[in-house]
Amino acid sequence: MSMNYTPAEMMTIAAARALANNDVCFVGIGAPSAACNLARLTHAPDIVLIYESGTIETKPNILPLSIGDGELCETALVTVSVPEMFRYWLQGGRVTTGFLGGAQIDKFANLNTTVVGPYEKPEVRLPGGGGAPEIATSCGQIFITMSHKKRAFVEKIDFVTSLGHGKGGDDRAKHGVTTAGPTKVLTDLCVMEPDAKSKELTVVSLHPGVTREKVIESTGWRIKFADKVAVTPAPTAQELKVLRELQARTKAAHGEAA
């Protein structure tokens, strides 16, 4: 069994494992797309993947570069208009799990993908929220995948693009939101889950070879650890093989178009 894998691969594989065969996923581009398709190609063959482009139950053979790639439509059961996607499918409550990421996250899993600095005079203008504000509140639960860096895991995010657990405790519900919100944050170092009561993100599993110190120094707040912290099982040979083949096919296909 090969133990040569990158932290990014570990993150994607950990995210894939968190998905079940009967999940209906709202998928973003990048790591979430890789994780969802890896799940589909391994333990969750019936998982339903929906992209914001209106492509429902899509089974791409390569990872899309954008959420509107042709591959998504060609392999989908059906493609609906974007208003229908948001009205009947996301808002209609048909998605069990949504994926999000961002430039900044705080200890209650609120996310920022809008600006670094003040909104009117940003230091860095990011692309914007995309579908996140409503994905964050309409999906049954949210998984967040992000590279674990101190400048991303911050005490206070500059802009709340999408609601996580708000100010913690029952603050999410105070916004009239009834869905579970972020239940897992999967990084390249560890897996975090919100504390049952305070909703503060807590490390529940460290990826193989990652120390507590590494997580602490990569996090901008005083990160908490669960009473029992597990070690994430290392990627299996099969997981790595399927993921790498998927990425190789993707690279070849996107290169071809050049």
């Binding site: 581009i29 990048g30 914001e52 482009s53 209106g54 492509t55 570069l65 954008s66 959420i67 509107g68 790639d69 042709g70 998504l72 439509c73 060609e74 493609t79 609906v80 208009s81 974007v82 208003p83 996607m85 948001f86 009205r87 996301l90 808002q91 609120n110 809008t114 909104y119 009117e120 940003p122 203008r125 692309p127 914007g128 929220g129 995309g130 579908g131 996140a132 504000p133 409503e134 964050a136 509140t137 309409s138 802009f159 709340v160 693009t161 999408s162 609601l163 708000g166 999410r172 916004h175 009239g176 939101v177 996107h254 178009a257 050049a258």
Partner: protein, 282 residues
């Protein structure tokens, strides 16, 4: 009934300086040829609506066509940012632009409400999200039956919609296939509309009763521009030119290289230049 026109004529007849215009297409079917024509005709002070400004608006903004941009995600998908959009917004080059920023759900609902002739859209949105603080076009509305508080945004009411489609027939009836985004909604939310198409056929065969079709009498002008969505793609015709999307980053990052590219590929070209992209994949 739609007039079948040249692209130059269609843009001249239907798009005025200062118009509110949406040039839609969701990754797929983005009307690039029309965007280039707008640049050639030197339109100014446009209020540009698009879910994702994409390269098409980056090009138009860089050439000074825009006064305002309404959007929900301003990047180059899978690549990075839109340098001309950022330069205009942050540095006022070549002119200052204002932005109005929404979520994807909000814009989808606003297009839908515009097509439906409503003044506003209602959706369960923006809960706990900070855009509400900075965008006065997001308000609360209360359900008169349950008391639930929901979000409201104004319907999009456009002067002009410009979209690309696979086919039109000689009466100007237009067929969209694949990822259809909000193209139909944009045309129905607009006073005037231009649809560029890959093909003009006698009749839209086979007869598919529930296809995504706009009757010719809802469209102002239909223009035959094969390849007109390049570097975006047309389902059933040609693929997305992902390499060009990646290349754009370097072209657009620098004001001079951007202007050189526009001079060579837009100002000194005409819509026939797009045909090569249609042929390439045929």
């Amino acid at each position: 009934m739609a007039a079948i026109l040249s692209l130059a004529q269609a843009v001249e007849d239907n798009l005025k300086d200062g118009d509110i215009v949406a040039m839609e297409g969701f990754t797929h079917l983005i009307p690039f040829a029309a965007g280039h024509e707008v640049i050639r005709q030197g339109r100014k002070r446009l209020n540009l609506i698009r879910m994702t400004p994409d390269l098409i608006y980056d090009q138009m903004i860089g050439m000074g066509c825009a006064e305002k941009v309404v959007f929900f995600w301003g990047g180059n998908p899978g690549v990075g940012s839109l340098p001309r959009f950022r330069d205009a917004h942050e540095n006022g080059w070549p002119n200052k632009i204002t932005i109005e920023e929404h979520s994807h759900a909000a814009m989808a609902n606003a297009f839908d409400a515009g097509a439906a002739g409503l003044p506003f859209a209602v959706f369960r949105g923006y809960r706990g999200a900070e855009l509400k603080r900075v965008n006065p076009n997001i308000k609360d509305i209360t359900c008169p039956f349950t008391g639930e508080k929901l979000a409201a945004v104004p319907a999009l009411k456009l002067d002009v919609a410009i979209v690309h489609a696979q086919k039109a027939d000689i009466r100007g009836n237009v067929l969209f296939e694949g990822i259809v985004g909000v193209q139909k909604q944009a045309v129905l939310a607009a006073k005037r509309s231009i649809v560029t198409v890959e093909e003009i056929v006698d009749t839209l065969e086979p007869h598919l009763p529930n296809a995504v079709i706009l009757p010719g009498w809802t469209v102002s002008a239909v223009v035959h521009v094969p390849g007109g969505a390049h570097p975006s793609y047309a389902h059933g015709y040609y693929k997305r030119d992902n390499a060009f999307y990646k290349k754009w980053d370097a072209i657009s990052r620098d004001r001079d290289s951007f202007r050189v590219w526009i001079g060579e590929h837009v100002l000194r070209k005409d819509p026939d230049a797009f045909a090569v992209h249609a042929k390439k994949a045929a």
